[in-house]
């Protein structure tokens, strides 16, 4: 029996749970401790765990580096997009009250969207940092 079989089976059970937990923290950040920064880091930690156990080639087929580099810009763009949408809706930059009819609904919508942008950027940046370090390791071996 391969000595890594415990790690592989354990990781296959744990990684979906970690990803789900990251999504829970992302969207529940208004009612409990959490928010975009924490969720992005936990999401990236799940991907790093997958890399440590299954290898860099497998994870780069699942999460391609091109997608990761693009997503890190998409998050910041989403954030600024919400701000500009608030300007078009009649308020100042990043004023969420004007995004919906009820100010509380507008605030909640604005906060959910920008936390999503923050979470996407943080997760993508940490994954791309890890890809850069790991790719350099493989280059040095060859």
């Amino acid at each position: 029996m391969s000595p890594h079989i415990v790690l592989r089976v354990g990781a296959k059970v744990l990684i979906p749970v970690i990803l789900l937990f990251a999504l829970y923290i992302q969207f529940h950040g208004e009612y409990s401790p959490g928010g975009g920064f924490q969720a992005g880091i936990i999401f990236a930690a799940a991907i790093v765990l997958y890399t440590l156990i299954f290898g860099l080639d497998a994870v780069q087929r699942a999460v391609p580096p091109v997608a990761v580099h693009l997503l890190s810009a998409v998050g910041a763009l989403l954030y600024i997009g919400v701000g500009v949408w608030a300007m078009f809706a009649g308020g100042n930059f990043l004023e969420y009250k004007v995004l919906a009819a009820d100010p509380h609904t507008g605030e909640t919508a604005g906060i959910i969207l920008i936390e999503l942008g923050v979470g996407i950027t943080v997760a993508a940046v940490v994954i791309s940092l890890f890809y850069s370090f790991a790719g350099r390791t493989r280059e040095q071996e060859n």
Binding site: V125, Y131, F133, G135
Partner: protein
């Protein structure tokens, strides 16, 4: 490993000081990401270090002791720990604590300050994180090193 223990102790300290959001972030960052980056850097460079003599360490020790003494002398004027009359609790923080639930409508005050009252600062932080990612991409490459030869391009005749 010691850095992981240090991070865990710092996260527990934050929980004791009622900073639950910060503790969650510190635990995730310190135990998840920071250790992997350090290990990656140690694999890429050497993991042994040169042994130094103790001579130039003495000057560093004296500088550190003088700076520490000056800082402790400077803290004599600071307010006591958890003092309700401290200036940190006086000016704008009571307004955030009392009005944020009415004005914004979500229970977590840290998220409402982070995303709504100080939203522009958070935008700056996101851009700084993005720039750090771009800087590492420039320094270390994109991690897409392939050994498969590319297929020859078809030419239209």
């Amino acid at each position: 490993m010691l850095m992981g223990i240090f991070s865990l102790l710092a996260a527990s300290l934050y929980v004791l000081l009622d900073a639950v959001d910060v503790a969650l972030t510190e635990a995730a960052v310190g135990a998840g990401v920071s250790i992997i980056l350090m290990l990656g850097a140690l694999v890429l460079t050497t993991s042994e270090e040169k042994v130094h003599d103790a001579k130039h360490n003495l000057l560093a020790l004296v500088v550190v002791l003088i700076t520490g003494g000056a800082l402790i002398y400077g803290t004599m004027d600071m307010p006591n720990f958890a003092d309700p009359q401290a200036p940190a609790h006086q000016h704008v923080a009571p307004r955030y604590v009392q009005d944020s639930v009415d004005e914004i409508g979500i229970p977590n005050m840290v998220t409402s300050v982070l995303a709504s009252y100080r939203g522009l600062d958070t935008l700056g932080e996101v851009l700084v994180i993005f720039s750090a990612g771009v800087a590492v991409l420039l320094l270390l490459g994109a991690g897409t090193y392939r050994r498969r030869p590319r297929p020859p391009r078809k030419r239209l005749k």
